[in-house]
């Protein structure tokens, strides 16, 4: 299996925040913490685009690199997780992450910064899979239940895709080729071209570009 990945199709995202709500509800995420959020560019202007953003489970995760207590680890499927019992809430990961994924509960009496919280790709944490302790700290472990992340599965327009990176990129590649828009962007061939079948040559749409 390839690495687990998310991708958000900005052509499809309608900023409904269904993914955000599903994540909050599924994991009982406290107030002030948003593991996933929808970012809108050019809001209210022609060309407005929205993208659902969470932890991207980087291959070379900067949060892992900067953590002074080494609380992060990566599963065999490439999901970046952390141990809240080791986390000291220093916030280095928050500064290192280019996506703003690490979140810190700040509703303490003095605005205390608690243990870091972030998207787990619905894979829980180091506690026993599906245990109350795991749910309390990290939320549901849907991967252990044979399911995919709630945010991606609930997405009404299927803008947000999540799962095995190979399958997800195949779905997205096919979608872009069918609608004939998107493969003209820089880096398309590198990201979605299939080397076995001729790389970017194969991934050129025939439809009219807009």
């Amino acid at each position: 299996m390839a690495r687990m990945k998310f991708i958000c199709d900005a052509e499809r995202c309608i900023e409904c925040n269904g993914c955000v709500t599903a994540c909050k509800a599924e994991h009982d995420v406290p107030w002030g913490v948003n593991r996933r959020r929808v970012v809108t560019l050019n809001d209210g202007l022609p060309g407005e685009r929205s993208v659902s953003v969470a932890c991207m489970h980087c291959s070379d995760a900067p949060c892992m690199a900067v953590c002074p207590v080494d609380c992060f680890y990566k599963t065999d499927e490439g999901v970046v997780l952390h141990d809240k019992d080791v986390c000291i809430g220093c916030g280095y990961c928050s500064y290192a992450c280019p996506f703003g994924a690490p979140q810190f509960p700040s509703n303490g009496t003095f605005g205390l910064r608690g243990k870091m919280d972030k998207c787990t790709f619905c894979a829980g944490g180091p506690e026993a899979n599906g245990s109350p302790a795991e749910f309390e700290k990290y939320g549901r472990n849907r991967l252990a239940e044979g399911k995919l992340p709630a945010c991606a599965e609930v997405c009404s327009t299927k803008a947000l895709l999540g799962g095995d990176g190979d399958v997800v990129s195949d779905i997205f590649r096919n979608r872009v080729l069918v609608r004939g828009k998107g493969s003209e962007v820089w880096g398309w061939g590198t990201a979605y071209g299939k080397p076995a079948t001729g790389g970017s040559q194969q991934a050129k749409p025939e439809g009219k570009k807009s």
Binding site: M1, V69, D70, C71, Y73, T75, D76, E77, L81, D83, D85, V86, I88, A123, G125, P126, E127, A128, N129, G130, S131, F135, R140, N141, L143, A144, E145, G146, K147, L148, A152, E153, C155, K158, L161, G162, G163, D164, V167, V168, I171, N174, R175, V178
Partner: protein, 99 residues
């Protein structure tokens, strides 16, 4: 020669002042090194990172939450289950073909 009749720097027990000074310097260095390196073997006071159980081994939670038809424990079956589930996000596979 010293005023007491023995060569300068020589001690009655056979050693020299220089070797005694060297030994004490070595001992001092060893002590300093032991003191300096003592922290290297120190265990962190905080909790050690726990090892995680792979997701394919299943959940200890309620069986009602398991995906339909999914049986935990087999890595290949788990991968196939997730691949099938991912295809559920592919509307081109779900919807009938365009005429």
């Amino acid at each position: 020669m010293s005023p007491c009749g023995r060569p300068k720097g020589e001690f009655p027990l056979g050693g020299t002042a220089r070797s005694a000074k060297g030994a004490s310097r070595t001992a001092l260095l060893v002590c300093c090194a032991a003191l300096a390196l003592a922290a290297c073997g120190e265990k962190t006071a905080g909790a050690a990172k726990k090892s995680d159980v792979p997701a394919f081994q299943g959940s200890t939670g309620q069986a009602a939450y398991l995906a339909n038809g999914y049986k935990a424990g087999d890595h290949t079956a788990w991968e196939q289950q997730l691949r099938n589930r991912t295809q559920g996000q592919n509307e081109y596979a779900r919807a009938p073909q365009r005429p």
